[in-house]
Every structure is written in structure tokens, then in C-alpha cells.
């Protein structure tokens, strides 16, 4: 009796899926059955042809067409744009160009590279930088100062806090505009380790624009806010932008 070999078994044979006994059975059936051998050969050929057909698939296109699944480029472009705008906005206080003589004088100083390498950070010395006149920010800043000073008295760790205001932030320290004159006065009275610094460059600009700048009595003036901040950072202070 001739054992029946199914098409599935022939396929399994050429794919190496048959176990030893099944293979034995197939070889026995193949012996003296050319028709079965032809069927097997044809299947084998089909398998090889499929392999040949895709041995060298056409190269993937490398066009500039946007990918269907990838992160959209406009998102990245948008982020870059926002970043650029933000940097431009923050740097707008620098817009008044120094006079040629001043520039030449400053230049020698500016050539000195600024590096914070080797500076040991000191979390007990804190610079708070304010450049906005948003009421929320003013309040946050004073709340932060309050918290820092209170915290140090309870923990017994002295904290040195300096508030540096430039640009619109200067409003906080202007006697005629600030809504917090009493509070600042109170802070300065009760704590020796807080100082308020105004940006001289901003004051200069305002004066040129015809605005009379009157500062609170507790406020000290630095030539530039940025210069003061860098100076503090180089002495290990911790910088916080409000």
C-alpha cells in the first residue's frame, strides 16, 4: 500500500519541519514514485524563486518627502523659533549700543573669558534675578525671599540673598511705582543678609527716555545687572531666575 503524502507534508519537508520518522516515511514514498518527486521538485523551485525574487529588493527611496510616521519637522522648527524669540526677548535690555570710547574701554575687560569651572557652588548664597514687572512674579519673588530668610532662621543656617532687578523688573525697586515699598523696607529692616540691586544700564536708558528714576533707599546700583550676576556666579552663588 502506498502511503499518502499530503501537499502540506511536502512543504514541511522542504522547509525542514519534518521529524525523523516523518522524513523516513517520505523517503520511502519517494522511492519509485517519480510523480511525487516532481511535485517536490516544483515546490522546491518555487521556494528558490521567491528567494531569488527578493534577493536584491530595490533600494529604499531617499527623497526629501516627509515620512508618514516620523516626528513632524514643523514641530522641531516651531521649537527653534520659540527658543529664538525667547532669547531675543530676554536680550532686549542689551539693545542700547555703548559709545565707541566706552566700548573700547569695556572691550579690554570683555576679552577676559568667563568660566565657572572650578567654582564651588554654595547653596546658601542666592541671587534672585527679576526682569519682568508681572505682578505674579513680583509677589513670587518676595514670597521666595521671605521663605528663604525664614527658613534660615528656623534651621540655623545663614543664607545670603541678593535680589537683582533690571529692565521691567526695576519697577519693583522704584519708589514711585513699586507696590511693595513697605514690604521691602520691612525685609531690609529685619534681615541684614538681604540686599537689593538695581541695574545701572536700565536706569540710564530710562533716564534717556525722559523717565525720572527714583529708587527705594535700601537699593544699591550696579553698573549692569548681567555683570553683577556673573560676578556673583563666579563667587559660587546660586542663580535663580524669577
Amino acid at each position: 500500500m502506498k502511503p499518502e503524502i499530503s501537499q502540506e507534508q511536502l512543504n514541511a519537508f522542504i522547509d525542514g519541519e519534518l521529524d525523523q520518522t516523518e522524513k523516513d516515511r517520505l523517503f520511502v514514498a519517494l522511492d519509485g514514485n517519480p510523480e511525487l518527486a516532481q511535485r517536490l521538485g516544483a515546490l522546491r523551485a518555487v521556494k528558490e524563486m521567491v528567494n531569488h525574487g527578493y534577493a536584491e529588493p530595490p533600494p529604499a527611496p531617499r527623497s526629501k518627502r516627509p515620512r508618514r510616521f516620523a516626528v513632524p519637522h514643523y514641530l522641531a522648527a516651531g521649537i527653534v523659533l520659540v527658543l529664538g524669540l525667547a532669547m531675543g526677548w530676554m536680550g532686549r535690555g542689551w539693545s542700547s549700543p555703548p559709545r565707541p570710547v566706552q566700548f573700547a574701554q569695556n572691550h579690554a575687560g570683555m576679552l577676559r573669558p568667563i568660566s565657572l569651572a572650578g567654582v564651588t557652588a554654595d547653596t546658601r548664597k542666592i541671587v534672585l534675578h527679576l526682569d519682568s514687572d508681572q505682578p505674579v512674579k513680583l509677589k513670587t519673588l518676595l514670597d521666595d525671599v521671605d521663605y528663604l530668610l525664614r527658613h534660615q532662621t528656623t534651621q540655623g543656617r545663614p543664607v545670603q540673598v541678593e535680589v537683582i532687578a533690571n529692565n521691567y523688573g526695576l519697577d519693583l525697586l522704584r519708589a514711585d511705582i513699586t507696590p511693595y515699598a513697605a514690604r521691602i523696607d520691612d525685609l531690609a529692616q529685619h534681615h541684614a543678609n538681604i540686599s537689593f540691586v538695581a541695574c545701572g544700564q536700565t536706569m540710564h536708558r530710562l533716564t534717556k527716555e525722559g523717565v525720572k528714576v527714583e529708587l527705594l533707599p535700601q537699593v544699591r546700583v550696579a553698573p549692569t545687572a548681567i555683570g553683577q550676576i556673573i560676578n556673583r556666579l563666579q563667587h559660587g552663588w546660586t542663580y535663580i531666575k524669577v
Binding site: 512543504n11 515546490l43 527578493y54 533600494p59
Partner: protein, 184 residues
């Protein structure tokens, strides 16, 4: 810590993942016969693979795991595409060969007919057939990749090969003679 393990521990698997790109592309191309789509599918599969690398328990199963992801990507692609066809890309495909005319002539007959025949197979049969023939996966692995029973794998493969035999058999001369005799 997670970041650190990504940088150090999985570096080996990550490089392996990249090496799979050509193989994934070959199979993806055999499924959709569209170079751009195949490239996108592979890209998406690799991206998903990288993102879910932590889910791969046994690194030895990287291959079948990746092809399973590729299969899922293709299924998702069907869900969102709905018979859309890009005419520009069809032209691109026809004119973008950079082989010499001699090379193309010597093999295009067989290769093109094989591809056309495979493209005509139902999707289920096409996937089973290419995974087994191109990637040499075992029936069990294919069943796992496509999430179908092994019996279905065998029957689909069987039907797929029968159809291909019917369409392609006259391409190979030695088989042609056999086929004629068997008819007699």
C-alpha cells in the same frame, strides 16, 4: 538609572536592531511592493522596537519579536490607509532603477514575474510565504509572529505555493519539462 541602562546595557541589542534593517526592509517590500511604504514600515517598526526594548524578555527572540512588530505596523497601516495610492511614487518606482540595462535584462524577467505573482497572493498567504522563504522562520515562529495557529500557517503556505507554482512554473525550463510530462 533607566537612562544609564539604556546607554550601557542595551547598547549591544541596539546595534543588533540596526543590523536588522535590511532584512526587515526585504520582507516589508515583499509584503507591500512599495519601496517608500516598506521603508516607512521598517522605520516605524524599529522605532517601536527601540521604544519597547524593555519589553523584550529574551534577547534570543529579537528576530521574531521585530517581525511581529513589523506585522503590527503593516496592519495599522491598512487601518489608516484604506486603498490610497500615490501616483508619484508609482512613477518613482518605475524609473528609479540604477542597475545597468544588461543586469536588468538578465534577471528582470524572473524577478519581476516572481514579485508580480507574490503580489497577487492574498495577504495572509503572502506574509506566511515570505516569512518562511525569505527569513527561514520555523512554522511555530511564524504562527507566533502573525498570531495564528500553526495549522493555518501550513495551509496558507500550501495554498500560496500551489498558486505560485501555477503562475511561475513555466519560468524555470527544467521544471517546465517536468510539468509537461506530468500533464501527460
Amino acid at each position: 538609572m533607566n537612562l544609564l541602562s539604556l546607554l550601557v546595557g542595551d547598547a549591544d541589542i541596539r546595534s543588533q536592531l540596526k543590523e536588522r534593517r535590511t532584512r526587515l526592509y526585504r520582507v516589508a517590500y515583499s509584503w507591500c511592493h512599495d519601496r517608500a511604504l516598506a521603508d516607512d514600515l521598517v522605520q516605524e517598526a524599529l522605532a517601536r522596537g527601540l521604544a519597547r526594548l524593555h519589553q523584550l524578555r529574551n534577547p534570543a527572540q529579537l528576530d521574531s519579536w521585530l517581525f511581529k512588530i513589523l506585522h503590527n505596523c503593516w496592519r495599522d497601516c491598512f487601518r489608516c490607509q484604506k486603498g490610497f495610492q500615490d501616483v508619484d511614487e508609482l512613477e518613482d518606482y518605475h524609473y528609479a532603477h540604477d542597475d545597468t540595462p544588461e543586469q536588468i535584462h538578465s534577471r528582470s524577467q524572473v524577478v519581476d514575474r516572481v514579485r508580480a505573482a507574490v503580489a497577487l497572493l492574498p495577504i495572509g498567504q503572502r506574509q506566511v510565504l515570505t516569512l518562511i522563504d525569505l527569513e527561514e522562520f520555523s512554522y511555530n515562529q511564524v504562527a507566533e509572529i502573525l498570531e495564528i495557529p500553526v495549522g493555518t500557517v501550513m495551509s496558507r503556505l500550501c495554498r500560496g505555493r500551489q498558486s505560485l507554482k501555477a503562475t511561475l512554473i513555466e519560468l524555470a525550463p527544467q521544471v517546465k519539462a517536468v510539468a509537461l510530462r506530468s500533464v501527460k
